[in-house]
Symmetry: C2
């Protein structure tokens, strides 16, 4: 059976030592979050994830969710009690507005808890995760009445949230949405249509479910400009906040899918259900994007989370499994064989995962801090700069962390040989669960298009120029530092490739947009490489300083080695991405459709 | 529901046009295999796979195998009839020795049928596949009596075969095997022990099962030098060839695993079962290697097979799914959206799979022809040269075709968005089934070590030098050919990287073997790139010639485009592999075990 230990120390090192979280004490909620409080919160969260959520991961996968004939959905045994423990710990409202019952602590800490919970039990963590996304959307676009009606209950975990976008004939292209909204004359709308792939659409964890639904108001313009967002509770809410009658929404079926069996993926049928407009008419996609952007970061974190838990179990196995002898002579001559961790190829495999995980965690925290600044800073310029970076980095994190996270789960599974393929060892579940993160909240190809088509050119390239300046500035600052050279030189080379690729788009994609589409996926991964490399360079700088001061020498040396591994073995990929991007679209577009 | 169409035309193009199979007519079995007969055989095989095997793929996955309390194992509904149809088609004995009932046709044709059958239904195809491997082992190392007893029944499909290597505490390191063999005094041995992960170990398709079992004869030396191979029938065979009493071997349980649910993966308990020595005492690993090498090629083909069927279904979906508009303006303005095949990133994804599949198929056929020459040629030098290449290429094909085949199944699944994650579409089954091919018959890390540690240095590097000479000779021959330049120049660059990597091992791994282990995996993939690139260069040469002669211009142009895509987008990876190899083992070996 797999196990999990939350990487509390690594998070503290990143927050306190690398990113100096005390520098953010001017932001609301940060001054309260002293290092001691952060440590206590992380310990508490780790305990919940390790002891309550993780033991239900495999049983939840085996049992799955059940839809009954009356449309009710039952989650796997133990999920309700675990969800209640999650709620009682105050985790849903950790970063939410205190005016509605939240604790107002940094979103960054909620992102950390999301990693821990997703490592422990991704299917279970999705239920509160979706609620947190829905809270963010209502917080930004809801009326005061909507906020008062829904937020306290959602923050308290009594009601959960969902997002309803996809329909059978449309996922990526939301302009094709057919679900319609007809005014009832009392300020509400009658919502009718079918939504598919609705995670946590129906379940037995909460007394109500708050659906955020994209639909088209009768007579609205065609395409994406005619989509509005509605809040549609499963049970109607009385004037006094108590629960009223059932609304006209029900779960028609649940999907049988590759993984995340513990989360109910529902077909939701809306049959004149009463809904209320959230935000402006026909601007529903804008409003939903608040939830989607938060969800995309959440999904990126799931990629890291599966990579981390898969890594931990692969290392434990590599320490215990005795097979073969070291190439340089027996290391454990008294035993029948050496542990497989002596073999270079096993170390290569494991280090490639570990070197990603630490940098990816840093990148998540760095981006989460930008999100906190973007949402909480009182300084307009600082706020804008942070929001720029958040927008730029969100598709990169979503695409790269889920792609590599999945690959890493596969690599970790590989360490187990045949046992990795057998269900009881749990490794194959990590692979199946990790797979969805590359698909939902915008398939990774869409993330790449979002990055290249929208985020790059926005505001004359302001965000990407700021990113280049920051990384380039770091490189320049440490140009003469010999101890930093193994980290800075590869970063400089990869940054150069990224800048060349950006320039190539400017020169070749304006007149011929297919050249942007053809290079978008590689550009996203090239961007991710540079961002991860920049994280390692910052970690290395901190580790060198701490080591010089005599602090945690062995730990710091391990970080320096893992970072060096990343620079030697992963960073060289930047040149391939540039070569692919520069090869353009001609060959692929020349192929006639019928010849594929 | 997924579908499948066997790539008969592509196989004929490769065999007839690219490799000129008529050049092999001096080999036994080849003269009979005229182009017309080959076409008829391939059509017949395609029909069986498309109409009989494929429709059972998804139902077999859903139902799986069942072990009953008495130890019997039932395969999914329809498998027995489909197996019988496979047997009646004479497919098991297609390439087997006519003296024992085989048809003596080229092994190359059996390899093609293996691809078709594995695309259609990998779990089902494994049953006869293992029999064919066992036939090869008995053919090479069995006594005349053993051959007469077992081969006709196995070739006729009445009895099936298995290979029993793995035990709970050992897989890769077979020197640790504990299963023991005690002489009964009548020429037979009593075999006792537990074997795990035995594919097709017990089932209801045949009246008998012939287990080939590695065990240690009492008093044998420790380690791999004390392992012998035994043939252990499930039911004993009377002197007249009829079936006798049940032998002391039974299926203790079947595994619940990620995929290939239709194939029974068994724990086999040997309790004093009667077995007979195959080959020489204590030389069992050598004997088993005959079966393993054939099996490794078979597994490589499974990687290609899953990539092919996943690709076909992804293309069909990309043609039908309407979503979004082309970046260069609507292509189907009358429809609500364009088919997603208009998007460059979708084409990139699909072409990366297709460009691999065609080259991988060529590489399989090229290697299979080497196998035919190695086993059938009367010319000692030709035989030796072919055997060298077969030995060199087997780990490359096993490692690279299964790694990339799995990645491609994942890429094809991605084209379906959320639908790819839903079981009923069938794409996630391809991913789950393809995953095992990276693990069994020697995990891919072991293939890499076999390549670098054994196949490279063998006979003073004779095999690898011959490979370099052949590819280098092709490059030189076409150096001045402008039409070939887009294929030859990238091949030349990658060959250069491969040669540099080989030289790096010579200079750095002799004194420090960890440097070989640290670079072995990248070396295997670098080798694969060059081999696949060489296949594309040969295909391009043929396609250019046929196009110039006015033959199948559109088809040939599509091949030239796919090959160009491979050269532009995949070949550049060679530089990264070289960079990684050259970074050596220092960083990874410096990490203390407790710091992983």
């Amino acid at each position: 059976m797999p196990s999990y230990k939350a990487p509390v120390e690594n998070v503290r090192f990143l927050l306190e030592d690398v990113f100096g979280i005390e520098r953010y004490n001017n932001l609301p909620g940060f001054a309260e979050a002293s290092p001691d409080l952060i440590a206590a919160i992380l310990q508490e969260g780790a305990k919940l994830c390790e002891e309550v959520l993780q033991p239900l991961n495999r049983t939840g996968d085996l049992e799955g969710c059940t839809r009954h004939d009356d449309g009710r959905v039952t989650t796997p045994k133990g999920f309700k009690a675990a969800y209640d423990a999650f709620v009682e710990g105050g985790w849903i409202g950790l970063a939410a507005d205190p005016d509605y019952g939240g604790q107002g602590l940094p979103y960054t800490l909620a992102a950390v808890m999301n990693e821990f919970a997703s490592s422990a039990n991704m299917a279970l963590a999705m239920y509160p995760g979706l609620t947190m996304g829905a809270i963010a959307a209502l917080m930004t676009h809801g009326t005061e009445e909507q906020k008062k009606t829904y937020l306290p209950k959602m923050i308290a975990g009594a009601w959960s949230g969902t997002m309803n976008l996809t329909e059978p004939h449309c996922g990526t292209d939301l302009g094709l949405i057919k679900t319609k909204a007809v005014p009832n004359g009392d300020g509400s709308y009658a919502i009718t249509g079918t939504k598919i792939f609705i995670s946590a659409g129906e379940h037995d964890l909460t007394e109500n479910i708050v659906h955020l639904v994209l639909a088209r108001i009768e007579g609205a313009p065609e395409g994406t400009k005619g989509i509005s967002l509605f809040v549609v509770p499963k049970r109607l809410v009385n004037g006094d906040g108590s629960l009223g009658a059932a609304n006209g929404v029900s779960c028609g079926s649940i999907e049988h899918k590759m993984g995340i069996h513990g989360n109910a993926t529902c077909v939701m049928n809306y049959d004149g259900a009463r809904g209320w407009l959230v935000g402006t008419e026909n601007k529903g996609l804008n409003a939903m994007f608040v939830m989607m952007n938060e969800a995309r970061l959440g999904v990126a974190i799931q990629g890291l989370a599966q990579s981390e838990v898969a890594y931990q179990n692969a290392v434990a196995y590599a320490r215990e499994r005795l097979q073969g002898r070291s190439l340089t002579g027996a290391k454990d001559p008294d035993k029948p064989a050496d542990p497989i961790l002596v073999h270079p190829d096993v170390r290569r495999n494991l280090l490639s995962i570990r070197a990603f995980n630490e940098a990816a965690r840093a990148l998540v925290l760095w981006t989460a801090l930008k999100s906190d600044v973007a949402h909480r800073s009182g300084d307009a310029a600082e706020k804008q700069a942070a929001d720029d970076q958040l927008g730029l980095l969100t598709p990169v994190l979503k695409g790269v962390l889920t792609d590599v996270g999945f690959d890493n789960a596969v690599k970790a599974q590989q360490m187990f040989g045949g046992h990795g393929y057998i269900a009881e060892w749990g490794m194959e579940q990590f692979v199946r669960d990790a797979r969805i993160a590359m698909i939902y909240e915008g398939a990774n190809g869409i993330q790449a298009l979002d990055l290249v088509g929208r985020k790059l050119p926005r505001d004359g390239g302001r965000a990407v120029m700021a990113f280049f300046n920051e990384v380039g500035g770091f490189v320049k600052q440490h140009a003469g530092d010999e101890a930093m050279a193994p980290y800075v030189k590869p970063l400089e080379a990869a940054l150069g490739h990224l800048q060349q690729a950006t320039m190539w788009f400017m020169n070749n994609a304006m007149a011929k947009p297919d050249n942007a589409g053809a290079g978008s996926y590689d550009y996203m991964h090239l961007f991710g490489l540079v961002a991860l490399g920049y994280m390692w360079a910052q970690i290395a700088r901190t580790a060198l300083a701490k080591k010089a001061n005599g602090g945690d020498a062995a730990d710091m040396e391990a970080k320096l080695l893992a970072g060096r591994f990343f620079m030697e073995r992963t960073m060289p990929e930047s040149a391939v991405h540039l070569a692919r991007i520069s090869s353009g679209a001609d060959t692929m577009m020349a192929m006639p459709a019928e010849m594929f």
